[in-house]
Every structure is written in C-alpha cells, then in structure tokens.
C-alpha cells in the first residue's frame, strides 16, 4: 500500500512537472542566452571561446557532465556547469544544436 502511494506520488509529480516545463516554449532559448556572454549570441563564439552553435546536443551534454564530474579539466566550466540542473543542460544543448554554426 505504502509502496503504491509512493509510486503514485512520483507519477503524479512527473505528470505535473512535464507540462509545467513544456509550457514555456522559450525556456531553452532563455537559458541558452545566459551562455552568450562568452560563447557568442546563439552560440556563434568569437576569439578563443568554444562555439556551441550546431554542436550535437549529446556532445554538449557529455561535455558538461565531464566538467561537473571533474573528468575534463577546465579553467572555469567545472564551476559554472554545476549551476545548471541536468534538465536545464538538456534544454540548452538542444537549443545550441539547432543553431546554424558561423561560417
């Protein structure tokens, strides 16, 4: 009985959470814009910063996870990456993957 109620609660939470996330169609865009100061508007970076426009989403997610875990050494991204939830990273990665890389 208890186990069922926990599962039901989890399912209810998931149901509630998903539409709430999906509700704001601009969330990915807004989150990705927080990266633009260094990585360029819509991911079209200049200078020595890593461009993100057109980079496959799974590659961005893997990179961020490596920064978070410390597997990939970094000057600053090991800190900044920890500020975003996994769900937010997925949205950001999806947004940049869909942008045209700068020619």
């Amino acid at each position: 009985m208890k186990r069922i109620s926990v599962a039901a609660a989890a399912a209810a939470t998931a149901l509630l959470a998903t539409p709430a996330m999906a509700q704001d169609a601009n969330l990915a865009r807004n989150l990705a814009a927080t990266c633009a100061n260094c990585h360029g508007t819509q991911g079209a970076a200049r200078g020595e910063m890593k461009p993100l426009a057109g980079v496959p989403a799974d590659k961005i997610v893997a990179m961020i996870n490596d920064y978070k875990s410390g597997n990939m050494p970094a000057t600053i991204m090991h800190q900044i990456s920890k500020g975003y939830t996994d769900e937010q990273i997925k949205l950001i990665a999806g947004y940049f993957a869909a942008q045209q890389p700068k020619k």
Binding site: Q23, D24, N26, L27, R29, N30, L31, A33, T34, A36, N37, C38, H39, G40, T41, A45, R46, G47, E48, M49, T75, I76, Q79, I80, K82, G83, Y84, Q88
Partner: protein, 429 residues
Amino acid sequence: MSFESHTDLARRRLLGTGLALSGLALAGCASTGGSGPSIGRVVVVGGGFGGSTAARYLKMWGGNIDVTLVERNPNFISCPISNLVVGGHKQMADITRGYDGLKALGIKVVQGEVTGIDAAAKKVRLAGGGELAYDRLIVSPGIDFMTDGIGGLASALATDQVTHGWKAGPQTVLLRKQLEAMPDGGVYALSIPKVPYRCPPGPYERACMVASYFKTAKPKSKVLVLDANPEIQSKKALFEKAFKDHYAGIIEYRANNELKEVQGTTAKLEFDDVKANVLNVIPPQRAGDIARSANLVNVNSRWVGVNWLTMESTAAAGIHVLGDATFPAPAMPKSGHMANQHAKVAAAAIIQLLKGEAVNSAPVVMNTCYSFVTARDVVHVASVHQFDATDKTFKTVPGSGGVSAAANQIEGRYALSWAENIWADMLAL
C-alpha cells in the same frame, strides 16, 4: 520637479497622435524590422551593458517591436578592460565600439539625454524638448557618485585635479595622462569606497595595472591602496598573491582607510593624511541620476528594487530597471556581465507582457568576471543564480561559483575573448 508642468497642452495633443516633435521621431514611428503590426513600443534609457543588450534581444526575440535606445554618448566605451588602458597595455580604441549594429537591426538609436520620466503618461522627456512615448520602459542608468560625505571631492573631480576613472571614457584618458606625467618616485593613491560599489574586483585590478606600469617605466614609484573596507572584497587570496609576487615594494595595501576629505591631491583619512602625486578616488555610489529623479530609488536611498521575474521596478509599474542601479539579490555582483543577464530576463519578460502571455517563471542569470593581475595573467570569479520561487529572488547555486586556482595566461586570453563576445552580444557587432 515634474516635467508634466512643462508640457503644454498642444504638445500633449501632438503626442496623442503619435507625431514627431523637435525633429525626433517617436518610438511608434520607428521601423519595426518585420512584417505585421508592432506588438508595442519599448524605450531603453542607457546604452551600456544592460540597455544595449536589452534593445538587441527585444529585437532579436520580439520581431515586430518598436525599440528606441537613448544614450548620451556617441559610442560605447567599456569599463571592463579599461584598467588595461590605465596600465598602458591597451588603447581607448580597443575598448570603444559603435551602435551601428543595433541600428542595422532597426533599433532607433537616439543620442541624447533623458531629463524626465512620466510613468503615468508613459512618456520620456529628452533634453531639447523631444518626447518618446512607450508601452514599456527600460532604465539602465548605471551608477552616479555620492560625494557629499567627502569634503572637497566634488570640486576636485569637477576640476580634474582628482580622477574617479569609474566610468570609462574621458576619465580613463585623464587618469592615464596623470600617471604618464607623474615623476618616477611619485605616489599614486587609490581610494576604494565601502561595498556595495560597481565591479567589486575592479579597484584591485587597477592597483595591479598601475603597478605593472610603474614596475617597468617608473620603478621608484608607489601604489598606495586606501580601502575603506576591512579587506580585499573579491578574489582576495589571488590579489594578495599578485601584490606579493609581482609588485612587492610597489603596492602597499591599507585596510579600513576610509577617505574623509580631499585637499589638492592629498587624501585625508581618519588618522593621517596621504600626500599623493596622483589621487584616484572611487567615490561611494548609488543608482544613476535618472533613476533618482524619476523616483525609482526605493532601497536604502541608493538603489532600485526590482521584481526578479521581469526586472520591473517595485516603485513604478511599466518601468524595468537593469544592472548596477538595482538593489541586488544576495551575492549578486554589480557587473557589466550581470547587467547583460538582467537585460535578457527583462527582454524575454517584456515580450511576453506585451503579448499578454505568462513570463518565464524560472529565470537563471550567471556572472563571470576576469581581472588582470599582470598584462597577461588573469584571475576569475564566477557564479550561477537560479530564481527561487519561495523567496522570489535569485539565489547562488552552491558549488556553481568560485575563483581561479591561480593566475594564468590561458584566462588572460579568455578574458579578451570574453570582452569581444559580450560586446558583440550586446551591440550586435
């Protein structure tokens, strides 16, 4: 003084019809840069990191929206990187950028001074008599100085005897010239106000940059840091190490040395006087003048309180305030980077509000700040701030922030790339 009293009836009638006055087209007449009807008129006051970014993102995200940017200066001159000009490692041209990119997007850029805001009538008054009507107003005024508590400072600044160098432009040039004219063996004194002030690590970076110049050009000279605070306010261990490793015998740091009075280039402190050859005083600060005259200042008589979901002022409906002028969320720095992030929250929210749609309920902002400790070696501080729906403010994510392990040249290159990217992001370069 209300500007309504200066507004004659005929002018109001003209405004009501949306006609141009004094040769200035109203926001409603500006090109929308797209097809279909405009979703609204937004006037942006101030073309710095906050205002320029807001104008650009309103246009990029909003499409058919009339955006007018009012800025008093003909070009944007960046405070970040300006300490490199003070140190002689960069030129003014390196930190100066134009507004042509924004104009090309269909943003109307007006070089002028805003002298009043009528929140009830939703109008902005310009020096010279023009007026701009808006549906939503963004005020990104930066800071102005509070010199009243420091005797002699206002006149010393007005006569260029003392510099602040805390708004990049002619002050940056003046400070550099004073340093160049100073004889070897002279003293440069830098007064730092109590927090909060614009750019927490900036003064300590400036001390390093001036010392780097002295080290090669005037090795018998001294940098005396007179800090009103009890300790270095940002990247403390990293700056202490830089002072010791690179500038031993040049930089002398004094905590708890609040400036009381200025006489010539002598700084009078509580217990002693410091006679300097070049006196650089960063005065205590508050929200920019226009925020005060428009009655937007409502926190500690210095700052503007905002709703963090929209950046709308808690003092006046329909007016959004960005950047250094705001009363910050906990641990949120006053920085150009943060003003850019504020602007994106505001731009997204204003577009939603003009469309009558719900605003983003979970905004995120983040900060990155690089400081040069030598011409090539840089240290950073970073943080990520997520909106907390319970407390209705941004909160720093634990573990998301931090500083460099040590000063390094890789971040020296990243710092310059950061500048190019953020200038391009805000000005559509």
